[in-house]
């Protein structure tokens, strides 16, 4: 039913392809700049990334609100003998991830500077952007896998080349961990195509055609789904395959951490939506107790681990584990609220955690330490910096009125309908989040600064300008998320109805009572408190 709208709103200009190509071209140009002109690369990188941002904003502007299907679809045969086509499209789920990618990279480029070899650094960064955007846009299994896999390379080089003391270990761990995961996905992906081709009568890697045309036997679908899910679980990351994340985050250069937390982790959750729920509705519904449990474990586990970290960056990394747990919880709760919450939480987590990493990076720039113990009293010497950190932190804690709350609350509200007890436990994550972040804040910013921290410089103008968009987004998304939600919801509804078509799952609709203002959908007689398909 999604294929039906495929092609709607497609424009003459292949904007999606352009979104991928602009960074690539930028990267090549940067790489080609002669060593003798060290100032040029940054300019080029900035131009290309800003160009990408502009394109993504244009995409968002011309996006058909209320259209559940894929838009701006462009499809060209790529590898004909294998039935692979360059098939791109964007829907409510991927739209804002693309925009987020477009927003984060210019900020990362401006806000951080590598200490050596700026040229390759920028080139890799742009490559990374192309890869992430590509994987968000691709509607062809092969294309998706290609991009999903290619992002490892730039990230690997960013960490290994510009990271901190243990960078090589962290980078290698990250690369191998993810590659191992995606190995399973590759097999599963090919198997999916092979089995689907038996139903379709022809071989194609086209996501939509497979999803529409093929119906997998329950057991088959489950195996295939798990092959995919392993890769995504590693990427998200879910406990217990999360241990690459703290190392990668801690060792990565600031820009790397920002991008890693901002967009790359989303590849996992996005994959779960697009290639789990959409491609294998039956299997993902069947296996949801597992995922819900893993998600909740991740929330609590990550929060607890974060509490006891002594390294500020590591703490933020573990908080990412917890936050991503929320997203997975929402994904596998199968309600409009939880799924919309999951999608919007991807954006919000990208913004908040990205900003947090940026700030931690600034602290490291100034003090050359990430150890919480060595930092104290910063609020006295750098109040504005502290204020910025405070706002970002509050959004990460999930204080209403800031963006972090919107996602978490929607996820929990929706999950409560279908996964009550998991939600009850997950809600503890909210308490723990306050605990570890405030404690860290107190240790780092409160108290009297000792002599090392006396000379801590205040927020510089450039840094402030970089931070400003983040703060703006944090407040805006917290106060008025409606425009975003409106664009997300149709795709989510389509996704859920797809799950309902393929399983005995029925999304529980709470009773809507007379006298309810605001446009609620007409009530169906579902008993609100009962939990369909649960347990």
């Amino acid at each position: 039913m999604l294929a039906a709208e495929a092609g709607v709103g497609s424009v003459a200009f292949p904007i999606l392809t352009a979104l991928i190509l602009v960074p690539v071209i930028g990267a090549l140009l940067v790489a080609l700049v002669p060593k003798s002109r060290p100032e040029i690369p940054k300019v080029i990188a900035l131009m290309s990334s800003v160009g990408t941002l502009a394109l993504s904003l244009w995409l968002m502007a011309s996006f058909e609100t209320g259209d559940a299907g894929f838009q701006f679809v462009s499809k060209h045969t790529w590898i004909e003998p294998w039935g692979i086509s360059w098939h791109l499209g964007v829907d409510g789920i991927s739209l804002f991830l693309v925009v987020l990618t477009g927003v984060l990279f210019p900020l990362a480029i401006v806000g951080t500077d590598p200490h050596h070899d700026e040229k390759p650094f920028l080139a890799w960064l742009l490559m990374l952007q192309a890869g992430t955007i590509g994987s968000f846009l691709s509607l062809d299994l092969f294309v998706f896998f290609v991009f999903f896999e290619i992002v490892l390379v730039p990230m690997y080089f960013l960490i290994a080349g510009w990271g901190y003391e243990n960078r090589v270990y962290a980078a290698t761990k990250f690369f191998l961990f993810t590659m191992l995961g995606s190995g399973f996905m590759l097999v599963g992906l090919i198997a999916t195509v092979a089995i689907a081709s038996r139903d379709l009568g022809y071989t194609t890697f086209d996501l939509v055609e497979i999803a529409e045309g093929a119906d997998f036997a329950a057991s088959t679908g489950r195996w295939l789904f798990f092959a995919f899910a392993i890769a995504f679980a590693v990427k998200v990351p879910l406990v217990p395959v999360h241990t690459w994340l703290p190392d990668a985050h801690t060792q990565a250069p600031t820009a790397g951490s920002v991008v890693l937390a901002g967009v790359m982790l989303k590849l996992g959750t996005y994959g779960l939506l697009r290639f789990g729920l959409y491609l294998f509705p039956e299997a993902s519904f069947w296996s949801r107790p597992l995922w819900l449990t893993l998600a909740v474990v991740g929330i609590v586990y990550g929060a607890i681990a974060a509490t006891m970290q002594t390294d500020l960056k590591r703490l933020v990394a573990y908080s990412s584990v917890a936050h991503m747990g929320f997203i997975v919880l929402g994904t596998f709760a199968f309600t409009t609220q939880s799924l919309s919450g999951a999608v919007i939480q991807m954006i919000n987590h990208g913004v908040s955690t990205g900003a947090l990493f940026l700030l931690v990076g600034m602290i490291y720039e100034r003090r050359h330490t990430r150890s919480i113990a060595e930092l104290n009293g910063l609020q006295k010497v750098a109040p504005i910096f502290a204020a910025g950190f405070m706002v970002v932190m509050l959004s990460s804690i999930g204080v209403p009125g800031l963006n972090g709350f919107v996602g978490e609350f929607l996820i929990l509200t929706g999950s409560f309908l279908t996964a009550r007890w998991w939600t009850v436990v997950a809600a503890f994550g909210v308490i723990l989040a306050a605990l570890y972040l405030l404690w860290a804040y107190q240790r780092v910013f409160h108290g009297e600064p000792d002599e090392e921290n006396q000379s801590f410089p205040e927020l510089r103008v450039k840094e402030g300008l970089v931070l400003l968009p983040f703060l703006g987004l944090i407040v805006f998304m917290g106060v008025y998320p409606k425009p975003v939600l409106d664009r997300i919801e149709p795709s989510i509804d389509a996704l859920i109805s797809r799950v309902e078509d393929n399983t005995d799952f029925v999304e529980p609709e709470p009773t809507i009572r007379i006298g309810e203002h605001g446009g609620g959908e007409p009530a169906d007689g579902d008993q609100p408190t009962d939990e369909e398909g649960d347990g």
Partner: protein, 657 residues
Amino acid sequence: MADLVWLIPAFPLAGVLLILLFGRRLGDPKAGYLATAMVFASFASAVLVFFDLLSRPTEERATVVTLFSWLPVGTFQVDMAFLADPLSIAMCLFVTGIGGLIHLFAVGYMHGDPKFSKFFLYLNLFVFSMTLLVLGENLLVTFLGWEGVGTCSYLLIAFWHTRESAATAGKKAFVTNRVGDWGVMLAMFLAFSAVGSLSYSVLNESAETGELAASTASAIALLLLLGATGKSAQLPLYLWLPDAMEGPTPVSALIHAATMVTGGVFLLTRINPVIAASYDWVPTTIAWIGVITALFAATIALAQNDIKKVLAYSTVSQIGYMMLAVGTGGYVAAIFHMITHAAFKALMFLGAGSVIHGMHDEQDMRKMGALRTVMPITAGTFIVGWLAIAGVPPFSGFWSKDEILLFALAESPALYIVGIVTAILTAFYMTRQVIMVFFGEAKWTSHANEAEAPEVAEGEEPAETHHAHGEFKPHESPPVMWIPLAVLAVLAAIGGVLNLPKLFGIPGGISYELEHWLEPVIEFGEADITGTWAYDNKYILVAIAVAAALAGIALAWLVYLKKRVKPWEPTLFANGWYYDAAVSWFMGKPGRDGFQAMTDFDAKIVDGAVNGAGVAVRESATQVRRGQTGYVRQYAGIIGIGVVLLLGWFVVIRGIL
């Protein structure tokens, strides 16, 4: 007119933005006056709305103003909407009114503080959030305010963040409140799954029409109660409030006495139909939590020497009374007491602030005494507050407390007895405080250095705060500070008129004003307990209450002024029944160890497994590598064995078998 309700939060918000932009330029004291002006403007608009509602027939006294759709997802439609109805407006009136006075006081109190403008930024932000809390049309907007005031209280408690104790207190307040918020959030989820909406109208309506299952209603009520215990500092979550006294005194007055801490009571009142719809034991639970907290806190207050700590515990105790009222159905009484308490407790806190100000940041009552001579206005106003809280007629506290005790007895004698005992204790420890501070002989003449009293050293504020004052000599505060005191004193004195009972002499025309006003929101009123023994014998209750108050005062008089009886201040009370200590120990020791263990598990076991795999590969490879000896004959041997195995497979297994 009532559509302008959005102005009420708008003004403080504007204040926030203005100070955010120009605060540093305005500086001390202009920023303060700006903030104050904003709050009073908000108060004015509240008054406007009030009269608008008043001009309407009773049943139409509710207007919903929807600004925009906040979280619209499928069936989950939450608007940023305000509900202007008697309850919310009543709350707004005293929140903004008293808040304005406290702002004014703070201008004087915070004079000279380097972060003067930031202080008022926070203060305005708080008022904004508080108005959101009370005006919220649905649980989520209320929650927005709820969390907002929590955040502001965190910021303000930790206002002097260079002080470790302040920072810790702030964190403690936030986290403890979060525990309560957990309940509130779950309540919201439950409400949504039950009635598909978070708006109070829908929720209450469904509760009244009985659509809401008793089980669900009870669950919602209890979860919200958990939230209330957090926000309103009841057992078991009260312990952040005493520490919150680390904040500047106006903060304690505004947030931790008058307004925020009553949020829980307000919330429960707001959803009173749900409580009504739930099982009978739910309100009873609320009542008992309230009354036990009241007694518990009162006992602790007996033995405190920090002037603010006494007030803090008395606040906890008084809110306990309100909870008792809520639990026994006396919602009006609860609101009534909330308002009167707001007045007199704010008064007393500000008085205390004035004293501290005059005493140059001395908080230990043992170092005071006879201050009435040097700061008469403060003393006078404080005494008014004292009489009010002690429950001496005709001061406001008497009426409200009496109303609550009436409902308590109507519910069960046990509640009543505990309540009366608490009343006696209240009168006692307040008298004790008044005597220690304003009467007796002056101990400040031989002002000892801070080193003697540790908790004083703790209560030390940054020296630069009061550079303005010269060498030590208690002095009266400037007008900007005592004018609010005076106004509040008046309110505290005559506050009772809001809801006079039908008693001797009192003309019926002016009685039960508040109850009539709240009629549309709260069905359950005094009318519902008519026929109970308590109702028929009001006079006796009044007599008992007065007697209790006087008894407490007299006793304290004997003990602390006449020194007839040796003071009885057990360390058990002084240390708050060691409850705080126990909790802190638990969090610090086993809790922390548990977390550490989990973290080690992550580092050693989970990550260890990953690295272990790597090591395993390397090790096994090193072993296999030994086989590659470099001897060509051995290579041939390996090949030969391979040949034999292959032949074995083909000839034996495939061929022969």
